[in-house]
């Protein structure tokens, strides 16, 4: 029986940091008070600043091939990971799936349903669900577990899964 494949698209996003050169405003000048001789003013404030642009790389497998399992059926595990994540503290990178979870035999048009579970979750993912999320502090990879029952007919079954990556910002709750 031909191997079943799930074709997923690779999305690797990398934002290039824009680094600005140091910019100097006009210096402060302090002189003495003409009556007292004391510095006037005797203190000034200078602001030090910089900007950190967001950056991250999300890696999604290009293909996932389900293989025959000893216990029956077909299964495979893939991973969605992130690296060099630098986003705001109130933001997270969210990966959601768009799929009908149906494999199509490329010649005959026969179909075969499959499921996707994330990590140790008991319930299968539905279309539009979140399958991974990352923050600056947490870039733990998300484990995707694909599974399908033994098909009635042989052939090469494929499905194209879309992973949508979004940058979500937490909304402050007004009290």
């Amino acid at each position: 029986m031909k191997l079943k494949r799930i074709i997923a698209s690779i999305l690797a996003l990398s934002l290039t940091l824009t680094t600005g050169a140091a910019v100097y405003a006009q210096n402060h000048e302090i002189g003495p008070n003409t009556e007292t001789g004391e510095p006037d003013p005797n203190s000034v404030n200078t602001v030090v600043s910089f900007s950190v642009d967001p950056t991250y790389t999300v890696t999604i497998p290009k293909t996932v091939t389900l293989t025959k399992q000893t216990a029956g059926g077909y299964a495979s595990t893939a991973e969605i990971s992130a690296s060099d994540v630098k986003i705001q503290s109130n933001q997270k990178i969210v990966v959601k799936i768009a799929s009908d979870f149906t494999l199509d035999e490329i010649d005959s048009g026969e179909t075969l349903s499959y499921t996707l579970k994330v990590g140790d979750a008991a319930d299968a993912i539905k279309n539009g669900d979140e399958v991974a999320s990352f923050t600056t502090d947490d870039t733990t990879a998300s484990e995707l577990n694909f599974a399908a029952e033994d098909p009635t007919y042989s052939g090469t079954y494929e499905d194209q899964v879309i992973f949508n990556i979004e940058l979500e910002t937490e909304k402050k709750v007004m009290s």
């Binding site: 405003a25 402060h28 000048e29 602001v47 910089f50 503290s89």
Partner: protein, 166 residues
């Protein structure tokens, strides 16, 4: 004969003399070798202390830069009293704060570029005396920084004082 008699006119002009009026005659002292004296005249002027201290302006740090130039503290003009100094210090909490979330900070120090030590004040005694400064941020701080805008305010304090005795 006619005589012309000339009259002798003797003219006598009586000169009227105006009598000069003299005040009391000035006291004079004949200066001789044995009575020589010295006269003193005091010439004086007062010069007030004046100075101009230049303080670094607002500075934007380049991302990922371990060290960024922070200008210099400089005495550009100076006429200060003997035994006095212009002493400049800074106040800072050494934390750049994220504007969106001030609990997220990046530590930094302001160093004296002359000896690479943390700046803790400079004594300026004459024109052109200066201290060049830098902003130091560690690689670890950059690596763990969240995205966003950060800033901090550094206060420069200028004091004109007698040089402390050591």
């Amino acid at each position: 004969m006619k005589k012309i008699i000339a009259a002798i006119v003797s003219l006598t002009l009586t000169a009227t003399l105006s009598t000069a009026v003299f005040a009391e005659p000035a006291q004079t002292t004949e200066i001789t070798e044995s009575t020589a004296q010295n006269g003193e005249t005091v010439i004086s002027t007062e010069i007030s202390a004046t100075y101009t201290v230049t303080i670094p302006a607002n500075t934007e740090v380049e991302f990922n830069a371990a060290s960024t130039d922070f200008g210099e503290i400089k005495l550009t003009q100076a006429q200060i009293d003997p035994g006095y100094e212009v002493y400049v210090t800074i106040d800072t909490d050494n934390l750049l704060e994220n504007k969106a979330d001030t609990t997220k900070t990046i530590a930094y120090t302001i160093n004296d570029k002359g000896d690479s030590s943390v700046f803790d004040g400079v004594s300026l005694l004459k024109a052109e005396d200066s201290a060049a400064l830098s902003i130091e941020i560690s690689e670890e701080s950059w690596n763990t920084a969240y995205a966003g805008e950060y800033d901090d305010t550094v206060t420069f304090n200028v004091n004109y004082r007698a040089i402390p005795q050591t």
